[in-house]
Every structure is written in structure tokens, then in C-alpha cells.
Amino acid sequence: SQKIEQNSEALNIQEGKTATLTCNYTNYSPAYLQWYRQDPGRGPVFLLLIRENEKEKRKERLKVTFDTTLKQSLFHITASQPADSATYLCATSGTYKYIFGTGTRLKVLA
């Protein structure tokens, strides 16, 4: 079955550094990957979408890559700030269904 995996361990980084989160998928080839941010007690908020024919997508301090050979997407936050602390979820979409990874909790230390 389709599976999308993220590192379930929390990631702690120092303010100002680049945070890199990983999303791996198996048993299928999604045409799109999406990244969301979720704060405690809130619904996820859409951040970025990348298509399979796009190697890289940027939005302000955010960058997403999509490697169809490795079946992996990387999500980078440059010049990280304590306000970036949250859980980040990747998701794939197809045939109306959106399948989410378990999310990686990021904590940016001041």
C-alpha cells in the first residue's frame, strides 16, 4: 500500500541555522508533494507544493526539493527562528485523497 514516512523524532536546531526535514514515500510515484505546518491544537496550514517535474521550489525562507529517484522530498527552512517551531507534515495527493506522513516536530532554540 502507499506509504509516506517522516522522521518521527523531534528535530532541535539552533536559531539561525538551516532546518532540513525529510519525507520518504514507497510503493507509488506521486505527481505532487505538499508540505504543511501544524501548531499545537490547530489544523495544519498549507505551505508549499512541488510537482514531480520540479526539482526545487522556494518561498521566502522555505525550500522544497523532490527527488523521484530517491523517492524523497526535503524541506528546508533557512535562517530558522523560534517562531518556526512547529510540526511539519508532508502529504501526497491523487484521486481526491490526501495521504499524510506522521510529521516531524521542529524546535528552534534561541
Binding site: A31, Y32, Q34, Y36, G41, R42, G43, P44, V45, F46, L49, R51, L89, A91, S93, G94, T95, Y96, K97, Y98, I99, F100, G101, T102, G103
Partner: protein, 115 residues
Amino acid sequence: SQTIHQWPATLVQPVGSPLSLECTVEGTSNPNLYWYRQAAGRGLQLLFYSVGIGQISSEVPQNLSASRPQDRQFILSSKKLLLSDSGFYLCAWASDTSSYNSPLHFGNGTRLTVT
């Protein structure tokens, strides 16, 4: 602009009691609608989705059901709650497109505790 409303924000219900969670979307027409559940520290589990009035697709067999009585209204129900139904329930909508690249827009969720 589009908005999604989900209520109540928190709910404590005894085992065996019924459940009704409601979600409405404003500012868009014919959205695709979704119910997800998130257990503590876990990912989002897709429960139901709907691409039109009266059209419900179930992803996980359980004692929950969903209905879409109006274009922008999505209801999650149960006749008898189980302890395992506790969790964070999220409603979401996406534009009705066939290109599968529309982002999901989530409500703020309902924290359900079954006691």
C-alpha cells in the same frame, strides 16, 4: 475569501453516547470535503471524503459515519462512541479540480475525549 468553520472546539462524551460534529465552508462552491482524525502524537488518518452532495467515501471501517446534506456542510456522526474514538478531528476542504494539486484547507479541529 474562503473560510471553514468546525465546532465544537472541545467535547467530552461518555462511552456509548452519540456524536455529531459539524463543518461548514464559506466562500467557495462544490468543494471536496474531508474528515481526518489525529491521535495524540500521531499522523492524520483520513476517515471520509466527499466530492459532492450525498457522495461519501469511507477510508477506514469503524463506527463512524459521515454525511453531506448540503454543498458546503459535512457532518461526522456516531451512534455509540468507543474509547478508541478519542482524538483530534479535523475537517478540511479542497477546490474541486481534477489535477490533484489543490492544497487542503483545515478547520481548527475538535478535541474529542470519550470517557
